[in-house]
Assembly symmetry: C2
Homo-oligomer: 149 residues x 2
């Protein structure tokens, strides 16, 4: 039984390895793009509620805000040294030339996203929507300067 | 100032929209693949510690385990109706034919991942590693049946 379990675990580790099958730098590009997609997936319903395209649902708002806050912790590690290469990165050269400024902007996003998760817990619609806009501005501040469309 | 902020927010919502620029079904495929990549990114260091390729670091172990637990909440929503189409999905036809079984397996992964996050908080190395293997088995149980490599 133990042997079977170890075998299963080994096979599954191979799965995980094949999911990240490239160089560490290419893995980082794939990781950070995946992370942005997952953030965007959760950002979508919040944006729709803020723009009035969807009715405000305090529980759903808080759920997605909490996820974004957690995901926002994971941004900077997706930009290790050497991951500026490769055809499919969307990071501008300016990001690597201004890494401290990039890190500060990522930190600002993290801070605003955590604040959004806290505000959303109170279920206050106006405050939640106002704080969402601060998160959106923090996205934009970084993307505009450091991300190709 | 308010006007500027609203403008900024609108622009940023457009960013989010362009990140998810396809049909809802294609967005779902991109989302679930991104999610798997982010899970894999966090799974990697745990696997390395369990296999002894990296020294056990209880704090790092708990951090990645906690992230995986949170991410594991988000799996099933990546498989909405209609997202079985498209050239680049890795989901087997069997997944859609056995959706209840798939959902149960995803739920089992969720349960084992939550348990891992709890065990990892205790910083008990042996128990953490043992529970990691259960998570890995839960990955495998689902991937083997429902995911093309």
């Amino acid at each position: 039984m133990l042997k079977t379990r170890l075998l299963l675990a080994a096979t599954c580790l191979a799965f995980a390895a094949s999911a990240l099958a490239h160089s560490p730098e290419e893995d980082a590009v794939e990781y950070r793009q995946g992370l942005m997609t997952v953030i965007g997936w959760n950002f979508g319903p919040l944006g729709a509620m803020v723009k009035g395209k969807k009715a405000f649902d305090a529980t759903a708002f808080a759920l997605h805000a909490d996820r974004i806050a957690n995901l926002s912790d994971q941004v900077v590690e997706g930009f290790p040294k050497g991951s500026d290469k490769g055809a499919h990165t969307d990071a501008k050269a300016a990001l690597w030339a201004n890494f401290d400024d990039f890190s500060e902007k990522a930190k600002a996003f993290n801070t605003e996203a955590k604040a959004l998760a806290e505000v959303a817990k109170t279920k206050d619609e106006a405050k939640s929507k106002a704080q969402f806009k601060k998160v959106a501005e923090a996205c934009k501040a970084c993307h505009e300067k450091y991300k190709n469309d």
